[in-house]
Each structure stands twice: as structure tokens, then as C-alpha cells.
């Protein structure tokens, strides 16, 4: 094979390889957040039985084996939501030292966050839906999720283990689930 022809083949192979590599690289970068979120959601949903249900950390301090670089000073309540089954309601009482409710769409973006000072009341009642089809009679704050699935995290700043019983009581007052029941 003439040298010139071989060089053209080599150049074509390099162009095809580089183009393929760049396309795959960008696809990986764009999709990694969704893959990570899927893992988190599956873990929170316990393999599928606990979608739209809240789970709570019940111990004070670092809990090993959780998500990377979590904050051990916050005791959290988490919920993986799937709004294909209808809107989800989250209600309960805030926590005095610091409380926030944050929502993450399926690419890990934190599209909504509110803290206790912004809420101005000691109780909260939110409805999360994928569209705007929420009963107007509901006297709650309505949040529209950009994606059908996502994650909710409630953080409470707990100053010491002395506050643990009060935090557990606060967690027990929460409702997470279908819009049709609960307070």
C-alpha cells in the first residue's frame, strides 16, 4: 500500500476515533448526575418500596456509608419522590436552630430550597407535583418539580446529642406521602 494512501487511512481512523471519544466523553459528563441520582433514589426508595416515603437519620453524628461528603451536624429526613403516581405532600414542624427543605431534580440540581426563617411559621405543608394539576382547595404551598422524579432533603442543625429526643419527636410529626391523606 502506498505511503500516501496509508497516511490517509491513518488520518481517517484518528478522526473517527477522536470524534467517537469526544461524543462519549460529553455523553458521560452529561449523564453522570442522572446516574448518581438514580443510585441515591434507589437507595432512599429501598429498591422500590419506599418511593414517596420519608426516611430519617435517627442517630446524632456521622453516619458512615451514606452519600459522599454529607454534613454530620445536620440530622436529615429524606424522600425519593416519583410524581408519576400523583402529587406528594410533605408536612410537619420546622426546627428552631436551623431547618431547610430542599428539592433536587433528577440531574442533582437543587431547584428549590426554603429555610425556617423564610417560612416564618413553625409548621410547613408543601405539595410537590410534576404539573400544575393540584386541587386549588389545598391550602398549602405548591412546588412544581422540573422532573418526574427527584429527592427531598430536610436538614436540621443539631448542636449536640442532648437535642436528639426533640429531633426524633420532630421527625415523628412529619407526614410524607400521597396528597389524599395526612395533614
Amino acid at each position: 500500500m502506498p505511503i500516501k494512501r496509508l497516511a490517509i487511512y491513518a488520518l481517517l481512523v484518528a478522526i473517527i476515533a477522536a470524534t467517537s471519544a469526544l461524543i462519549v466523553r460529553q455523553a458521560v459528563i452529561d449523564n453522570v448526575p442522572q446516574w448518581v441520582m438514580k443510585l441515591i433514589q434507589d437507595r432512599m426508595a429501598d429498591g422500590g418500596d419506599r418511593w414517596n416515603t420519608c426516611s430519617h437519620t435517627r442517630t446524632y453524628g456521622p453516619v458512615h456509608g451514606g452519600v459522599s461528603r454529607a454534613n454530620p451536624d445536620s440530622m436529615v429526613s429524606v424522600m425519593a419522590y416519583d410524581l408519576s403516581r400523583g402529587p406528594v405532600r410533605v408536612s410537619g414542624e420546622t426546627w428552631p436552630n436551623y431547618w431547610s427543605l430542599s428539592l433536587y431534580q433528577d440531574n442533582t440540581d437543587n431547584y428549590f430550597v426554603i429555610n425556617d426563617r423564610e417560612l416564618e411559621t413553625s409548621s410547613f405543608d408543601f405539595i410537590i407535583s410534576y404539573d400544575d394539576e393540584v386541587d386549588p382547595a389545598e391550602q398549602t404551598q405548591h412546588i412544581t418539580s422540573p422532573t418526574e422524579t427527584g429527592v427531598m432533603v430536610i436538614r436540621r442543625f443539631v448542636r449536640s446529642s442532648n437535642e436528639l429526643p426533640a429531633v426524633l419527636a420532630n421527625q415523628d410529626k412529619m407526614y410524607c406521602g400521597p396528597i389524599t391523606t395526612g395533614s
Binding site: 462519549v24 459522599s68 451536624d73 431547610s100
Partner: protein, 204 residues
Amino acid sequence: MKPYKTGLATLGGVVVVILVASILSFRLTMVWLQDSDGIFDEFYTTQTQWRYSDEVGALDAAPVARARVAIGGPLGLSSKEVIYFITTEDTDGERLVSGCDYQMSGRDIDSRWWSITLYDSTTSNYVPNIDNRSSWHSEALPFNRSNEWSLIISPDQKPSPWLPSQTGASTPFDLVLRLYNPSAQTRADVPDITLPIIEKISCR
């Protein structure tokens, strides 16, 4: 060789090239994204060893920043709520490792509350220790009359306030400083606020 056979061979070659390049690219991109310190590459530098980010959880985060934060520290709060500072180095610019003891000191930071957390850089997670402590927060740290505080980072138990690092072979760790609901002044001054300094005491 007949023309159609030549065509098939060429097509097969192209498919092989695409497959090999794609598999290699997938693996290399994942390794690059999962690099233990990779999450910090997308953070802004400051005048000190600390880096900070306002892209954690942000809707307009750059794709690489979003991917790296998703791997290294998912479910962070947006900068509306929290400002994150991270360091992997001491004040001399040397990598933080568990084979050395450090003194960390600073002043109170004007925010609702703040915390410093130590993570094993190889696992991106907490370090097991007898105190079950991975952090100190602004309500627990003892401040002196000048509103200053200091703590010791070491794998060996120290008088309080002690922040335990990894025991055994020397391995890298990182520190995350979180400012919850920073004041308007703090927010305006970031990143030029007085951040903690981390001085090496000794190494084993």
C-alpha cells in the same frame, strides 16, 4: 478482493475503531471524573489555600462541575443557602495527610452557623474514630475573648477540640467549611473573608 467485501471490511474496521475509542473514552472520562480531588478542580481559587464554589447544586452549573459534584458531594445546597469552601492543602500549600498533625485556627464567621468537616479523600466519606467526630461547628467550638478558636487535627487522641484524621498509613484528607445563611456582608465579601488557617505541627 471483491468490492463488496472491501466495503464490508472497511465498515467493520470503522465499527471497531468507534467501539474501541468509545470504550476507552468512557473509562478514561469516569476515572477523570472520579479522581479523588477532582471535585475541587471546578472550585474557584482564593488568596489562601481554600477554594470555594457557588455552583454546588446550581441550576446553571457547568456540566463538568455538576458531574464532579454529583460524584464527590451530591445533594449540596445552592449558594442561596450555603457557601462551600474546600481545602486539600495546609497554609504552606502542602497536601493534607493523616501522617501529620495540624493546628487549625480562625475567627468566627458572620453567618447563621458554620461547620468544618474532615473527609477521607480516598473515600469521600467520614473517618471512623473513637469520638465518632468528623466535624466542629460554630456553636460547639470554644472561642476566646478575641472571638478566635483553634483545634488540633491528628489521628491520635488529643485534648478537645480535636478533629480526628485517619489512623494507620498516611492517607490524604480534605476539609469542607460550610457557611449556612451567611450575612449579607459575608456574602458580599466572599471569597475575601478571614478563613481558617491550617498549620502543620509535625509529621510521623
